[in-house]
């Protein structure tokens, strides 16, 4: 899908420049008062409403900024404090008892969720965390028939291609957070995890699309490494269970005895273990089984 393209955006902005309808988009894009802005009223839930609860974890412990966690990294030998933990998800599908995947349509809340993409934000700007004070660990959407029983969930990490290469400066929330911009790669950081060990070794994980190419009209046409992990969790019922997002699992193969930086660029040895943890292939190797998410 390449329906949203830069030129389309530009043309639309030009065409509807004087109309108030466009102003709305601008104000979201530019005045991202995320700390203050309350999510718009989503209205009452219905029998078709699905609430997805996520639990940020460091191993078995709840994730928190401003706290040191021991036993992380390769060999579980490092002690570390995290300074960021945010990720975008999209293309959510619940699996019914017959094994059919049913799309979960996200509800727009002007803050965390658009219909097609949502931000999970586990950092609260305390301690070394420098993001936003607001956190978001719950997504809300609807399915056609909420009376169904569910036995699994599928989703992708990241921003959909159709929205990943538009004009970030005018994008609506949650695509207006400058700390998630990845302008030099022409996209967004899909997953942002950062921290430092007690021996002052830093680790930085920015997952996003790489190897992107533009066509002659200046639009990103494709990316050789889209890097949008498809996550499949079986035995999951949103009514009774949560999805744990385990940042310790993400860096469980990473040697934290030295600083590491994975910007998703090809040819960085630091990226191998991280990509394995999210189930992405790296450096010509086969994709492993993701460990970042589990049912809890």
């Amino acid at each position: 899908m390449t329906t949203f393209r830069i030129t389309t955006g530009l043309a639309l902005a030009l065409l509807c420049g004087p109309l108030s309808a466009c102003m709305d988009g601008h104000s979201h894009g530019t005045g991202s008062d995320n700390d203050d802005m309350q999510a718009a009223d989503l209205g009452p839930t219905t029998s078709n409403t699905i609430l997805l609860n996520f639990k940020p974890r460091v191993g078995t412990q709840p994730f928190a900024c401003n706290q040191k966690f021991s036993g992380v990294g390769l060999g579980a030998t490092a002690t570390a404090e995290f300074s960021d933990f945010r990720l975008y998800v999209h293309d959510l599908r619940l699996v019914d008892t017959s094994g059919t995947e049913v799309p979960l349509q996200l509800e727009e809340d002007q803050k965390w969720q658009q219909k097609t993409v949502a931000l999970l934000d586990f950092e609260d700007k305390t301690g070394a965390c420098g993001g936003t004070a607001s956190v978001n660990a719950q997504l809300r959407g609807v399915v056609p028939d909420g009376s169904k029983q569910w036995k699994g969930i599928r989703f992708k990490v990241g921003v959909p291609f159709a929205q990943n290469h538009g004009d970030a400066a005018t994008a609506a929330s949650p695509l207006n957070l400058t700390s998630m911009f990845w302008a030099w790669q022409s996209g967004y950081k899909f997953l942002r995890v950062e921290g430092q060990t007690t021996t002052s070794q830093s680790f930085i994980v920015h997952l996003g699309s790489t190897g992107c190419v533009k066509d002659g009209s200046g639009q990103v046409q494709s990316c050789s490494s889209p890097n949008r992990p498809e996550i499949a969790l079986d035995g999951f019922d949103p009514k009774t269970q949560s999805i744990a997002v385990d940042v310790a699992a993400l860096i469980s193969g990473t040697d934290l005895g030295k600083s590491m930086e994975c910007m998703s660029s090809p040819g960085t040895s630091d990226c191998g273990p991280v990509f394995a943890s999210v189930g992405l292939p790296y450096g010509g190797g086969a994709a492993g089984v993701q460990k970042l998410f589990r049912v809890e």
Binding site: I6, T7, L10, A11, A13, L14, G17, P18, S20, M23, H26, S27, G29, T30, G31, S32, D33, N34, D35, G130, G131, T132, D167, A168, A169, T170, N176, L177, T178, S179, F181, A183, W184, Q185, S186, I204, H206, T210, G211, C212, V213, K214, G216, S217, G218, Q219, V220, S224, S225, E261, M263, S265, P266, G267
Partner: protein, 368 residues
Amino acid sequence: MRSVWAVLLSFWVACSSPTPEVLPLPPGFPPPRIPTDNLLTAQKVELGRFLFYDQRLSGNGTQACASCHKQEQAFTDGRALGLGSTGELHSRSPMSLANVVYAPSLTWANPLLVSLEQQALVPLFGEHPVELGLAGKEDELLLRLRAQPQYQRLFAEAFPEQAEPISLHAIQHALSSFQRTLVSGRSAYDRYAYDHDQAALSDAAKRGMDLFFSERLECFHCHGGFLFADAVHQNTTFDEANFHNNGLYNLDVKGSYPSGNQGVYELTGKDRDRGRFRAPSLRNIAVTAPYMHDGSLATLEDVLAHYARGGRLIPSGPNAGDGARNPNKSVFVRPFDLSQAERADVIEFLRSLTDFEFLKDPRFASPF
């Protein structure tokens, strides 16, 4: 003079003619492309000038765009590597902004950055390295600007159709508009070439010019056209964003450059893109030392010696290798012999490309 335009049709930036008052062009300069969604107006340009020189545009209030792009140095800063607002070193040297309105792509080696609007987000919000250090501080930035009556007025004048004129979008558009006016084309060479003033160039510079445009030196293949670099303008039918490996490094059999600073490879991951960078314009080159993407050549004499050898030999240390043997090296970078007198002539020619009016034009100076 030969220009090499190749195959990439581009219609995305439709053309428009900026009014001559906003963007007067020197003789010989074609009308540039201006994006139709950000037409040049005197008001946007003026706002952009304020923003460009305003330290409020950094997270900790210590830097402005102008900190690394100084007018008297043709909007470079004389450093080998840029230094960000938090003290972090960039892996690359600040590029000149002169004639950036014609650049087919921005920064040293990024085929994805083709508009100044997009590019503005990199120094403002980029984190690796931190430049202006505003990532996550967009609200604070807007509050700072909204608190200034002067900016309330400037933004409202520049973006009268906006209910809330002070926005990220407006900052992006105003900065881009100001940069588009940074046109430099009044050097001694221009007076010679376009005003037909024979006396504008010394005999040495004229001899150097002949050498520059000779097949013996091959300089003009990458530094051709009115900018002495690739350029796009309204009459460009074929865009060619070119990137070249000039044999500066050769760390291994793949022709690697130092890790993390390998040019287009950083984006594409393709081995053939290792060491490929944009050929910068040679206009004002004498005031933009040091040279190359990492500022690793101090003087024009060093640059000429590098090209005369057909690549740089680094005999020892972490970057050891013979750049002349880099497998990705441009075919036009090959050894040539040049006498001492000829070297001096070429450098004299390069010095004639300095536009002293541009370096002190009050239209481009700080409004503060």
